[in-house]
């Protein structure tokens, strides 16, 4: 029976006094329903986790009580394996740590070996390393800019992200021979010089990057739904983020003005480039997206500066055929796309390292999750995971 019938026929019998009904409505709300905590397994295979990452979430209704990340599904024991490899072989391994920006992984390790050996790569090699590192950063961030939209429900940005990233990967492939794992660094320089016409190609590709950033700015940042899903979600206080070891764009989105390209021990040619370190004061998911978008543009500008200034000359300095690194130890850190990447290398004077501590960015970035996920709603878990932007190989090493 429809409601119109009852009101029409029995209106006089059925007078509704709103005041009398209110206590009923309130009683309904105040009934204590016994909803036991629910344990939800996010992963190990979940699209928001970039690999095999499991998150055990205890829920009270829609709200997260506690979250416990379970990692180690991809632990490959690189710190152990490096003790059984020579220095040139190690660069092959560490390509696989953060597989989206493999080239950037090689740089600090090669720099550590070079500093211990007291050799320096020629200026042209340093410039090419800088260009390829920044290209890795652009490729990594373009994937993020697209995928972050995907995680919060916007499908279109993902296509743009993957499409434009392909141009960068083509550049990296044409220079190094590998799309994902270049293994292009050698101790003392690079494997090869750039192919003919590569610089011009790179210059035109940077325009694609600028266009892509404009697209994302309009399509994603300008989107009301995206802003509603991301603003105020997953706020990392700067002091706590630093104490957890959160680094890179995640920390800069919390307002910490700290970029190892500018503030760390000088490496590559960053001291000769003019670039801005972007920070945002909010520290939420939206700020992390915003910072990475600006940094993508900044990286493209840095590539253009390198293309203008790149000198001619050799790409490899003189190193012995069999690389032996003198006794000593060193800590080298660089600003990788995901954050601070560092190697503590202990050498005993042999052809292989004695101990390599690999400090990867995602490991510390993710360790804040148990704190960060307390009390958020389930859909926001996905937003936070996506905005932190971690790579499983970078967590598990």
């Amino acid at each position: 029976m429809s409601t119109t019938d009852t009101t029409a026929s029995g209106a006089s019998d059925f007078a509704i006094d709103p005041a009398s009904m209110r206590h009923l409505a309130e009683a309904r709300v105040n009934v204590e329903l016994d909803t036991g905590d629910m344990v939800l397994n996010l992963g190990p295979q979940h699209p928001a986790t970039h690999g095999t990452f499991r998150l055990v979430v205890r829920l009270d209704g829609e709200r997260v009580i506690s979250a416990d990340p379970v990692i180690g599904y991809m632990h490959r024991g690189y710190e152990k394996i490096t003790e059984f490899r020579t220095y040139p072989q190690v660069t092959t391994l560490i390509n696989r740590i953060d597989w989206l920006s493999s080239f950037a992984n090689e740089v600090p390790f090669v720099a550590a070996a070079e500093k211990l050996m007291d050799v320096e790569a020629p200026p042209r090699a340093q410039y090419i390393r800088t260009i390829l590192t920044e290209l890795s950063r652009i490729a990594t961030f373009l994937l993020f800019l697209g995928e972050m939209g995907l995680q919060v429900g916007a499908l279109t940005p993902a296509f743009y992200g993957f499409r434009d990233r392909e141009h960068i990967l083509n550049l990296i492939e044409s220079a190094t021979g590998g799309r994902f794992h270049p293994n292009f660094n050698r101790i003392g320089g690079l494997k090869d010089d750039l192919p003919w016409g590569w610089l011009a190609e790179c210059r035109s590709t940077m325009q694609i990057v600028f266009d892509a950033c404009d697209t994302f700015e309009n399509l994603v940042l300008g989107n009301e739904i995206f802003a509603a899903r991301c603003k105020g979600i997953g706020i990392i206080p700067p002091e706590l983020g630093a104490a957890y070891g959160v680094s890179g764009s995640n920390l800069r989105a919390s307002g910490v003005d700290w970029d190892l390209r500018r503030d760390g021990d000088p490496y590559l040619v960053y001291s000769e480039l003019d670039f801005k370190v972007w920070t945002h004061s909010d520290g939420d998911s939206f700020a992390r997206y915003w910072v990475r978008l600006q940094e993508t543009r900044e990286s493209a500008r840095m590539v253009l500066q390198c293309l203008d200034a790149i000198p001619a000359g050799p790409i490899m300095t003189k190193v012995p055929l069999i690389i032996k690194v003198p006794k000593g130890e060193i800590w080298v850190e660089t600003e990788n796309p995901l954050g601070q990447m560092g190697y503590y290398v202990v050498s005993k004077g042999g052809t292989g390292p004695f101990r390599v501590k690999i400090r990867s960015a995602s490991f510390s970035n993710v360790s804040i999750l148990p704190w960060l996920l307390q009390g958020v709603y389930v859909p926001d878990v996905i937003t936070i995971l996506a905005s932190l932007y971690f790579i499983l190989g970078d967590i598990d090493r």
Binding site: G72, K80, R124, A243, D265, F363, I368
Partner: protein, 251 residues
């Protein structure tokens, strides 16, 4: 949009130099190194002075190392060292906590052959690294300051039979995972840690993989890489193995 002005420390001198098309880049790179070690050594002196005065006789040895400071402290002063670094030297950022096993790896047969450069020779005697070492195990940590832009490494010796040290979780909450990793990989115990569960390894795993006496099983099962791995073309396979065999016997 917060568009905070960046503190231009390294930036201003660079732009005037960078666009000038000077292919021989030697003059451009020269100004940077003298500048960098100078600032680093000043900060290293300040770090060392502060740590020495605050920690007193808990400091066993310290040395500057490539712009970094490495300091070995007494094991019972481990937590105090972290406190001083955090409170007096503004080191708000925890980079990592890990361990070192200074014992040389036991020699395995066939693991290293003279002239075979593909397999690194392992050291045969125990030698300490920077800032020295008293025994086999050391815990070491790197902390940094996001405001002062410096960093330092602390080391502490641990007893071989009962490797135990204070936890840094109360100082840096991020130490939680680092110490869990260190505990399972080296068998260290961190006193005051909220729960030293396994981080990477499966629950039934026995042993501590990063200890030097823990063998790399893949290498034990099959020597790698060796002359036995070189396969000839199918039609010359017989010849290749003969050559390989003869090469082995000659060596």
């Amino acid at each position: 949009m917060p568009d905070e002005p960046v503190t231009p420390e390294a930036a201003p001198p660079a732009p005037s130099d960078a666009p000038t098309p000077t292919p021989p880049d030697a003059p451009a790179t020269v100004p940077a190194p003298p500048d960098a070690p100078a600032t680093v050594s000043v900060s290293a002196e300040e770090i060392l002075a502060t740590l020495n005065s605050a920690l007193g006789d808990a400091v066993i040895e310290a040395q500057p190392l490539f712009g970094d400071v490495v300091m070995r402290v007494r094991t019972d002063a481990w937590l105090r060292a972290g406190e001083v670094a955090r409170d007096q030297l503004d080191c708000d950022y925890l980079s990592f906590i890990s361990g070192i096993d200074w014992m040389p790896a036991p020699k395995e047969e066939g693991a290293e052959a003279d002239g075979d450069t593909s397999t690194p020779a392992q050291p045969t005697e125990m030698t300490p690294g920077a800032a020295g070492a008293a025994g086999r195990f050391q815990v070491f940590a790197h902390v940094q300051s996001t405001t002062r832009k410096w960093g330092m490494t602390f080391k502490a010796d641990l007893d071989e039979n009962n490797p135990s040290v204070d936890s840094w979780v109360s100082l840096y909450p991020g130490a939680n995972w680092h110490e869990r990793e260190c505990a399972e990989m080296f068998g260290f115990e961190f006193v005051g840690h909220p729960g030293l569960r396994l981080l990477y390894l499966p629950a039934a795993f026995e042993g501590h993989p990063l200890r030097k006496d823990f063998p790399l099983l893949a290498r034990v099962v099959k020597p790698w890489p060796g002359i036995v791995n070189v396969e000839g073309m199918p039609e010359t396979a017989a010849v290749a193995t003969e050559e390989a065999d003869s090469g082995d016997t000659n060596a």
